[in-house]
């Protein structure tokens, strides 16, 4: 069975941190093939982000280290996909809960 293929994180970072630099640093982590950082919340001092990372055997500890070293805080891991392929969840299953 393969390693981590996708991880979706809810992250808060200080607003003086560059999201471009953060994305570039995350892109260099072992196993990462693509990074999507979307700002969901803006404040004077804090940016709320959703970070989606996809790849092949993503080094999650490396990802966590980069985010924390940049002064960010991982609030929650909203989705993790592990295996030979990316298994998408049926939205109907979420709605029915």
């Amino acid at each position: 069975m393969g390693g981590i293929r996708r991880v979706v994180l809810d992250v808060d970072i200080p607003s003086n941190i560059s999201t471009v630099e953060l994305a570039e640093k995350l892109g260099r982590v072992s196993g990462v093939k693509a990074v999507n950082i979307t700002v969901t919340d803006t404040d004077v001092e804090v940016l709320g982000l959703i970070i989606v990372i996809e790849g092949d055997g993503v080094d999650y500890d490396g990802v966590k280290r980069i985010i924390e070293d940049s002064g960010g805080a991982i609030r929650s891991v909203d989705q993790v996909v592990v295996g030979e392929y990316i298994l998408e969840i049926n939205p109907q299953l979420i709605r029915e809960r």
Partner: protein, 160 residues
């Protein structure tokens, strides 16, 4: 790259010239005086800036609900130290220039007033007033009065 605050350029020059004017009459070795003024200003500027940066990090920690000291292990803290070092260095260099010019030209006087440093202070005041669109003549006079007062204090202290 660190953004160099304008206030450090003003503070560095003004502080060093006034300190040299006051102490120059009692510490007759010009080189020693310049080194003292430069080192003190460099260290104090670094500490002042570093404390500000640490306070800012602490504020971020509280905003992000982090434990105190969490950000000290991050690149943000390294950046804070680097920025404080740059500001301290700029302050030190400007202090060195201001103190050197003053020490080298203090011997040319009218009464107790070293003419060249006082004139340079006046010009500096005029340049500063342009920065915030103030009255150039007023700031020229103000800086000269500051310099004359400082040199008078130095003159009085040298008599003790």
């Amino acid at each position: 790259m660190a953004f160099i605050e304008g206030r450090y350029l003003v503070l560095g020059f003004l502080d060093s010239v006034l300190t040299t004017l006051i102490l120059g009459e009692t510490i007759l070795n010009g080189i020693r005086l310049v080194i003292i003024v430069t080192v003190i200003n460099l260290v104090t500027a670094f500490m002042a800036e570093y404390i500000e940066e640490r306070a800012s990090l602490r504020h971020i920690e509280r905003t992000l609900l982090m434990k105190s000291g969490t950000l000290l292990r991050t690149s943000l803290h390294k950046r804070a130290i680097y920025d404080a070092l740059i500001e301290g260095f700029v302050f030190g260099v400007v202090s060195f220039i201001g103190s050197s010019i003053t020490a080298l030209s203090m011997s040319i006087k009218v009464l107790w007033i070293p003419v060249i440093p006082i004139s340079i202070l006046g010009v500096f005041g005029t340049l500063m007033s342009r920065y915030f669109r103030g009255n150039a003549i007023l700031w020229f006079a103000l800086y000269m009065i500051l310099g004359i007062t400082a040199s008078f204090i130095g003159h009085i202290l040298s008599g003790f």
